[in-house]
Symmetry: C2
Subunit: 245 residues, 2 copies
């Protein structure tokens, strides 16, 4: 094969260019979450490179959790509906070590105008329309998480409390199913704070009780921030887990 790099503008390895094209197809929705992408040989033919080069591009996308390989079956677009990805973004675990299944209790879902800080995190103008959701999550009857969630109204048009109450499963799966939005990664900032009166009533703790304050911004394809959360965790018998390497 004599296909050469060309494009003297910005040099990058062939497999990086393939990776970029795959990413573009993912972002454009050419292959939906859960679906299989074309086989390595098909892609090699499409882009006129060898199978090994396509393979290396796919390798990187799988380590970023954007694609999932299944030997003998194919390569699939990652989805939050998958069993394995359900709790990818939840780092809270009981001190006992037993598995934890949280139960949802949605409280409110209303439209607000974006405050400065949230607008900044979501890279949108202050005052734009946001959907604000409040929920509590319980485990074994105890309220563990109190969370406020903000979403751009434009992308999440039609989302209502009724929608949320009817939904069973992770929110990120709802975003995929109903709003063509797949979350790719998130960043969290964590502090210890004293419970204020609102958190105290939601989590049924005394005012002043130490709580874990977790601020999360979630990103979709192309580093686009599309969700912000501020959560309070009651860590009296749970903890936040993190692996460093």
């Amino acid at each position: 094969m004599t296909t050469n790099l060309s494009s003297l503008a910005t040099f990058s390895p062939l497999y990086q260019q393939i990776k970029a094209m795959l990413l573009a197809s993912l972002q454009a929705g050419e292959w939906q979450p859960g679906e299989a992408i074309p086989s390595e040989f098909e892609l090699a033919a499409r882009y006129e490179v060898s199978q090994g080069t396509v393979r290396k591009a796919i390798d990187e996308l799988t380590t970023q959790n954007l694609l999932i390989r299944k030997q003998g079956k194919g390569t699939f677009v990652a989805t939050h509906h998958e069993e394995h990805h359900q709790f990818r973004f939840l780092r809270l675990a009981p001190d006992s070590g037993l598995p934890m299944v949280l139960k949802n209790h949605f409280l409110t879902c209303k439209k607000i105008k974006a405050p400065r800080l949230i607008a900044k995190a979501l890279k949108m103008p202050t005052g734009e329309s946001l959907i604000e959701i409040e929920r509590v999550q319980t485990f074994a009857g105890a309220a563990i998480v109190f969370e406020q969630i903000w979403l751009p109204s434009l992308r999440f048009k039609g989302l209502s409390l009724a929608t949320l109450l009817a939904w069973t499963g992770p929110l990120y799966a709802l975003y995929e199913s109903s709003f063509a939005t797949h979350m790719v990664r998130a960043e969290e900032k964590i502090k210890a704070v004293a419970s204020d009166s609102i958190s105290a009533s939601r989590l049924k703790t005394a005012i002043g009780t130490p709580l874990l304050l977790v601020e999360r911004v979630s990103y979709s394809y192309g580093n686009k921030p599309v969700e912000m959360r501020i959560a309070r965790y009651d860590t009296s018998s749970q903890h936040y887990e993190n692996a460093l390497s």
Copy 2:
């Protein structure tokens, strides 16, 4: 080349076997932190496989941060002396976003008998001899971190307060230089707690102030736990950062 897999006992890909042998050499100290390992072609000759197979083994070790590639120079054993790895395990950052340089203040360094919980985390018998270190870290004059550190006396023979006071740089670099111990990964469990009287005096906060409680176990080669820490962070103007993907 006709070298075939053989070893019907436990089948694993060739590159995994190579990876295991490289790991064994690392653990045995055949190549020291900071040193270059043999070139890919040398290793290919040693193990009688192709360069591509050695390469794949090294690939995995670099993604685990055990080796570092430097194009044109060689492949090196990771070290905590490296600029780039200095703050690999420190997730605390100022809210301002500016870089943070912590200043060490070692308080005590004494021998104790291992309490049950710490012994369990370090997979050693209760009552074995431990070194217990206390330190405070400050930033811009303010006490930010109060930390207790436990190390097995056997491996860290001779470590004293004088050693610590003379040392400038990360503790993990001291472990490498003086105790032939390279930290590979760590696990943290995080809670929000109220400041007790000791933490309050060390961090100069009021009793009851919410603090981030960070419990860390660090592992060397072969998943051997060799250090436990319990730290309290004052997160009034700092936060713990985490990336989820």
